[in-house]
Amino acid sequence: MQAVKYARAGSVEEAVSLLQDGGDTARPLAGGTDVIVQARERTRDINLFVDIKHIPELISIEYSADSGLTIGAATPCYQLYGDSTISELYPALVDSTSLIGGTAIQGRASLGGNLCNSSPAADGIPSLIVLEAQVEIAGPNGRRTVAVEDFCTSPGRNVLGDGEFVVKLHFPAPAEGSGARFLRFIPRNEMDIAVANAATQVRLAADGTVTWARVSVGAIAPTPLLVSDAADALVGQPLSEETIAAAAAASSAAANPITDMRGSIRQRVHLAGVLTERTIRQAAERAA
């Protein structure tokens, strides 16, 4: 382990100040399931952990029909999938948080951490994208909000500047007739990193017409992608084999993957389409 120091922040302002003073080698610590490994294996130069999870608003789940869902960025996965409101209204978040790591990881890991780690294969981010999450960031100049699809910039990198960290994630209340689903492809059933993953949210009118859609695919490009062409292929008509196939083809066309030990370019391009198709069908089932 690097000679890393530890500081527990009691407030957002204190955390910002500690991160700013610590400079490039200070990192926020929430669940630590990525960042402690990075410090130990020296894949990131880290000299200070600023523990943000004792700040009350960082561990919180709030919902109202007017303002939607707000979750503290450090809220561990098990609290998210164990929450009855999230299970009922945002099941795609349950899909994601219940398969990030195993039980012991889910006791600590958070969606904010999953987002800030900014892995192309992050299992939280496609769900955040299709659920239109807004990322609330605190920093030396106060707070700002970024749409989640604009947050990651390249593998392991994102829009956070010096002294900034993610405080909360905001989601609009689900509209009538909407449903969302996240799926991941891995060789076993649990505890693995995605070969590819995808999420879809659709909104269906009473006559079955798709009135709105979002499709996101991960592990097939340097960042998780919002695939607008896939959504465009669905909107304005009822779901059919043709529109679903067109959306799947759009995801495969948007894919720009690499070949690595988990899968090849060809396999990932194929999976982008397959997972898009499956998430569309299952999101529509949830919308019905």
């Binding site: 000679a3 530890y6 402690i36 523990d51 039980t103 012991a104 006791g107 600590r108």
Partner: protein
Amino acid sequence: MTTTEHIVVNCTINGEQQVFLANERDSLLEALRDRIGLTGAKEGCNNGNCGACCVNMDGRIVNSCLVMAAECEGAEIRTVEGLASGDQLSPLQNAFLEQAALQCGICTPGFLVAAEALLEQNPDPSEHEIRYWLAGNLCRCTGYDKIIKAVQQAAGQSVV
């Protein structure tokens, strides 16, 4: 390199108040094994994949290699050493013996702590629930079936 500063950590371990010194860079696993002398939790992968270092922290299982010792201020930690009462093994530990659910034993403390936490919150788990809960604990000897049976036995289920 900066000089190592020791920190003081106050927490509860297996029901007893503990105050211990640790390096600021120590993981909870290193503190348990090297500072406190509780060597039940094992270092396998040291990166969160294997579960051999699993302990219970504030009612949830965690990989102690992925917890900083400094984070444990005020925490309630339970390790495999806390399962037995004196010479009296817990029902889960007895079930592991009776089902021969271990060979080399390195993974066993992690499995015991994880399975104990499962049975606390779900006293009658299905086989699927047991396997899913324990997916983060790796065993290279037994092939898992005997471990699953031991957990089923401890849950009072009939084991074929």
